[in-house]
């Protein structure tokens, strides 16, 4: 059994009383333990909606119409909200596409990380602050001791994005879904952050879902790839197969569009 199995997932948005549109039109894929899975596709193809369905966090007026999302055998679609909250807290976490709005603007980033730490485990030795500073350092944030007390608006866009990722190093979920986690980062830091996330996969055996429009990142970091187009999966497979022998014309088109320097 796979760690996560998504079967024929249909998600629809209600436009008005009579009208409804399908955003996801029967999505099927699975995620194995210790795997880095890339989800690629153009803007609007349904990548974020797929992730939000797994998290049980679909926006207003958007619903799962049919299908299953099985996590270790448990169907998340029919799960109670209280169970989902537990799953979101510890088992499946997501880094949202828009990191700035997921951070609290009136609380220092250190305190936000501390709060997250404390909801997971009470602090016995009083070592938390040190651990958080270490995480900030790992994320390549200069002067982590001082940045601990900085507010999100005092950090650059890319630094906030790294704070969000750092929080996941605290949370250590079983599955981490990262939705365009490095769009604000330059190539050298991006590489370093993804390497850190992959260390989590190696050390803790978590599974990583990397949602991105950057095929270069997928080539460098993913084991398997799912290609989405207009709410459907058009191709899925091993990273070498997708890049070297893409079978779907849409995948070929995406590959042709990669900008070259």
């Amino acid at each position: 059994m796979s760690l996560l199995e998504i079967k024929d997932l249909v998600v629809s948005a209600i436009k008005n009383k009579e009208e409804k549109v399908d955003i996801l039109k029967g999505v099927t894929f699975s995620l194995e333990k210790r795997e880095v899975l890339g989800i690629v596709g153009e803007s609007g193809s349904g990548k974020t909606m797929t992730a939000l369905s797994i998290m049980g966090l679909l926006p207003e007026r958007v619903y799962v119409t049919s299908g299953n999302i099985l996590f270790s055998g448990q169907d998340l679609i029919t799960a109670k909200e209280s169970d989902m909250q537990k799953i979101r807290g510890k088992k499946i976490s997501m880094i949202f596409q828009d990191p700035q709005s997921s951070l609290n603007p009136v609380m220092s980033v250190g305190n936000q990380m501390l709060e997250m730490f404390n909801t997971l485990l009470p602090d016995f030795g009083g070592k938390r602050k040190k651990q958080i500073i270490e995480i900030l350092r790992k994320m390549g944030i200069p002067d982590p001791e001082r940045r601990y007390n900085s507010f999100p608006h005092e950090l650059s866009g890319g630094m906030n994005q790294r704070v969000m990722i750092g929080m996941m190093l605290i949370k250590k979920p079983k599955i981490l879904i990262a939705d365009e986690p490095t769009t604000a980062l330059d190539v050298t830091i991006e590489k370093r952050i993804l390497t850190r996330l992959k260390e989590l996969v190696g050390e803790l055996g978590i599974s990583l879902v990397l949602i991105t429009h950057n095929l270069g990142l997928v080539a460098e970091h993913c084991d398997r790839v799912v290609v989405m187009n207009e709410g459907q999966i058009v191709e899925a497979g091993d990273v070498f197969q997708i890049f070297e022998a893409p079978s779907h014309p849409y995948t070929r088109k995406l590959l042709d569009e990669v900008p070259k320097i």
Partner: protein, 337 residues
């Protein structure tokens, strides 16, 4: 020269002590930047996260006060505040005009639109802020015109942002910033959140608008591939200072500064085999802080070719090394003679 920054510095004070009231230092976000942008052209400003790009953009927009140095717009000091203008012997009323002429599109397009406001109203708000579009009809007409300009169907103006794709939302945001009829736009990572094909379309739109309306852009991005598509001139920033500047074609073909070379070498390759075989980036991971800027050349702790003691002791100046191409590095030879 439409816009010019002269030795611009923007520092943020850092407070320490028990109750955070004692000033213990400065974050030198922008630390002596001199640059010029010609009318109708695009300057691409690149550099790693936290190097000061947004701060520079905000200072041009008057959202951040420079610590020292001057920005000139059409040859005159760029000051928005009426009192400040008076003090400097400038017409106090002109400040408002400048606010209209210089516009922005910020990082994070999803947040620049209010989810409860129809896109037509969002664009119209760009007019209202500057009290343009006197009658209702005029306003409506201008909104239709703007939406058409950015390639959206004007019939969609009653619809809400959530009904549009990310790329379409970015078009709306652009229309909104074009509403006051600007001359100069600070574009801070305008396409970073978009996928490649949408990115391409938005960049085409920006180029098209530049042609039609004679706009000038400061285009901020950490993505060298994106900048390549739009910039005439590229400036590479490192820890608050420019380390290389020159015509885009030259920077990409023959980068001079070791930092620019490292940036170009780290671009992900869309080929899983080559990517896995590739040697790691040669620059060190430790990122110095803009509060504690290294002595001599600020890049020396990470530079693969640094020479001691020269690079640790002397700060290289940004000077012309080949025709039109400037670099701040002791070891880049001058090709001029």
């Amino acid at each position: 020269m439409l816009l010019k920054c002269e030795n611009l510095k923007v520092y943020f004070p850092v407070y320490g002590g028990k109750i955070f009231t004692r000033k213990i230092g400065d974050v030198k976000a922008v630390d002596g930047v001199t640059l010029e942008i010609e009318k109708g052209t695009t300057l691409g400003l690149v550099g790693e996260s936290g190097c000061g790009k947004t701060t520079l953009g905000k200072t041009i927009l008057g959202l951040q006060r420079p610590t020292s140095g001057t920005i000139y717009y059409e040859g005159k000091p760029l000051i928005y505040d009426a009192h400040e203008r008076k003090k400097n012997g400038l017409d106090p009323k002109e400040g408002k005009v400048l606010r209209r002429k210089i516009q922005t599109a910020f990082q994070d397009p999803s947040r620049s639109l209010n989810p409860r406001m129809s896109i037509g109203d969002a664009v119209a708000e760009g007019l209202d802020i500057h009290k343009l579009g006197a009658t209702r009809e005029e306003r409506e007409e201008r909104v239709v015109e703007l939406l058409r300009l950015v390639g959206l169907d004007p019939d969609a103006r009653k619809r809400f942002p959530s009904e549009f794709s990310a790329g379409q939302r970015q078009r709306v945001a652009i229309a909104r910033h074009l509403a006051p009829g600007p001359e100069f736009l600070v574009l801070d990572e305008p396409v970073s959140a978009l996928d490649v094909s949408v990115q391409g379309k938005i960049l085409e739109l920006l180029k098209d608008l530049q042609q039609k309306l004679g706009l000038t852009y400061l285009f901020i991005s950490h993505d060298l591939a994106v900048v390549k598509k739009i910039a005439n001139t590229v400036a590479v920033m490192y820890l608050g200072k420019l380390v290389e500047e020159g015509p885009a074609a030259k920077i990409y073909e023959s980068p001079m500064h070791p930092y620019t070379k490292a940036l170009l070498a780290a671009v992900p390759i869309p080929d899983p085999r080559r990517a896995r075989e590739r040697q790691d980036i040669q620059i060190s991971e430790e990122i110095p802080s803009s509060e504690n800027i290294p002595s001599g050349c600020r890049f020396h702790p990470r530079c693969p070719i640094a020479e001691t003691p020269l690079c640790q002791e002397q700060e290289p100046i940004l000077e012309e090394k080949a025709e039109g191409q400037l670099a701040a590095c002791h070891l880049v030879k001058n090709n001029e003679s």
